[in-house]
Amino acid sequence: MVNVVEVEHVSKQFKIHHERHQSLKERLLHPRSGSIEVFEALKDVSFAVSAGETVGILGRNGSGKSTLLKTICGVLQPTSGEIRLRGSLAALLELGAGFQHELSGRDNVYLYGSMLGFSRKMVDAIFDDVVAFSELEHFIDTQVKFYSSGMYVRLAFAVAVNVNPDVLVVDEVLAVGDERFQAKCIDRIRVFQDEGRAILLVTHQADQVRAICDRAIVLQSGRMVADGPVADSLRVFRDYLLGEAVAPDAPEAPVALHIDAVTTPSGAFETRHGASLHLDVDVSAERAGAGYLVLEIFTRGGLLVSRTDSQASPVSLSPGSNRIGVELSDIPLLDGVYEMNVGIVDRPGGTVLAWREKAVTMQVVYEGRASGVIELAPLIRQ
């Protein structure tokens, strides 16, 4: 495979001025005042993206994700190291950053297109597709300043995906727009993948990475701590989330937990549609505490089928090993293989205390006629 993006030993340092003397007078009066702190946003990051690959970039706030994307797009120059790009690149760092409020949607499509590096002729050719995708037919000649934020985002996204770049770089922009438009964007990204284009995606949503990406990179304070299959990287990402969340308030912190194993009495995670499945979750705890069990079920394709936390029934944990029994009854899933993540949180929607990615691979057998993920069993009346 051809590498379309090669990031080699890239580091980026920012100078942070603690006392800013930006006026000429102040600079002259305080020639050496104010300390300058060097902040390392990226430390020796190297990776490559080949054509047709979709890579997710995960990291907490301030871990350097956006800096990395910006250097790849050429908005920032690395302090050292090099980035090589083959083919055209369209970046959505902030939707509509290049828009001029006073101009109409039409003029902005051309201006934005030329900012992304596409000629007027190329934009002419895709203009109708852009308008159709953004669903702004009636407003295309309205000044952009009268657009709602949703319309704004739709237009910007429509331009970036319709110019058909070889590399698409997306920075947390899929979170905006209504659900229907988000689904449309995801569909578009899938078309991109099928066409063998590369995508770099920064997101907070682990589901999105699981659903779209082939590979994920985890950044932790400017360092790349993981680069590999999505499941592995997500595990590392969660570990870091855990490590950081637990450490600061150690004495009060809920017990250090570890999910040792998830087993089932029969030994094989096989069940029939409508039947039940019993899971035993073995948890070792350092001290006594309480938490809530979280179950996430995914299809093989990464689609989240269900995520539940046992809100009504917290589990209490005693020091040493604990066994938590989970009964899944009347399973509505259809034929297929499902993957399950098991975790424990301190309160519903709270901090993750322990997590086991892909703890269970479950097979469901179904003999009916329905296809998909779950059975609806509609009653037909006439």
């Binding site: 920012f14 100078k15 930006q22 250097t71 970046a91 902030e94 950053a97 992304l116």
Partner: protein, 293 residues
């Protein structure tokens, strides 16, 4: 294949810049459109301010102070056209990167293009003003120096490169020192008065400067030569008869055509080098834009 590294060599910068001509023209067009959006007269406004300046200086110097220069409007006009282009471009470009910080921080393109788009917009206004000047000359039946006309493109190119160089450097410096914006307005005012736009160099200060051996210093101002060339081409006469005293007045240098050519060609070479220096200075300064904007 494109390479993003710590600092691009000058050749790469120049090539990137040339590769984005289309962006430059869209930015120029959108600049002008935004400026006159919703105004009924549109581009006519771009003429009104220069017209008023022209009228004011004409009243002051020709009517009230009676400098005795015949056809003074033509003399003034041909110099002001040059000065307006320079001043409006440098003034607009000085703050352009600070003003468009949102764009600079989010979209990748050679940042010099922002300053160059201001120069480009000023060039359009320059073109319109030049058109008006030519029409005006036709109406009053004042023929330009046809034999000198071919020097005009050389002089104009030097003007463009000079303006672009200063605009590019100033746009980057303003990011670090915001005062430069206000400083530049003052500097430009001073610069205007050391350039022979509203007065004649030969007629008013040449003798005094020669006495003190400062004549060469005056010509260090690159605008002087460009303005003199435009005046030589459009005003034509180097020596005229004063309208007040009837005595002969030296208005413009009596250099032969070859001198005008060599000086302008030299200036063009100098400004081309200046432009390359401006690009590399900009390249050095742009690395830290992110933390300063």
């Amino acid at each position: 294949m494109r390479v993003v590294s710590a600092r691009d060599p000058l050749g790469v910068r120049l090539r990137n810049l040339l590769g984005r001509r289309e962006l430059l023209s869209s930015l120029i067009v959108s600049d002008i459109r935004i400026k006159y959006k919703g105004s009924a007269l549109g581009l006519v406004w771009s003429m009104l301010s220069p017209a008023l300046t022209l009228a004011t200086y004409y009243m002051v110097f020709s009517v009230f102070l009676k400098n005795g220069i015949p056809n003074f409007v033509v003399y003034l006009f041909s110099g002001l056209v040059v000065w307006n282009m320079f001043q409006s471009a440098v003034n607009a470009a000085t703050g352009v990167i600070v003003d468009r910080a949102g764009l600079v921080k989010k979209v990748s393109f050679p940042r010099e293009i922002l300053a160059l788009s201001n120069v480009g917009a000023s060039m359009i206004y320059f073109g319109i003003q030049l058109g008006v000047l030519v029409a005006f000359l036709a109406v009053i039946r004042h023929a330009p120096a046809w034999n000198f006309l071919w020097i005009l493109p050389i002089s104009f190119l030097a003007l463009y490169l000079l303006t672009a160089s200063i605009a590019i450097v100033m746009s980057a410096i303003t990011v670090y020192l915001r005062d430069v914006r206000h400083l530049m307005e003052v500097v430009l005012q001073l610069w205007f008065w050391v350039s022979p736009v509203v007065y004649s160099y030969e007629n008013s200060i040449a003798a005094a400067l020669h006495r003190h051996g400062l004549a060469n210093l005056y010509f260090l101002n690159p605008m002087t030569l460009i303005i003199l060339t435009f005046q030589r081409i459009f005003y034509v006469s180097t020596t005229v008869r004063s309208t007040t005293s009837g005595l002969p007045l030296h208005i413009l240098p009596t250099w032969p055509m070859s001198t005008y050519f060599y000086l302008n060609a030299g200036l063009l070479g100098g400004t081309a080098i200046l432009f390359l220096i401006a690009l590399s200075v900009f390249g050095r300064l742009e690395g830290n834009f992110e933390s300063e904007l």
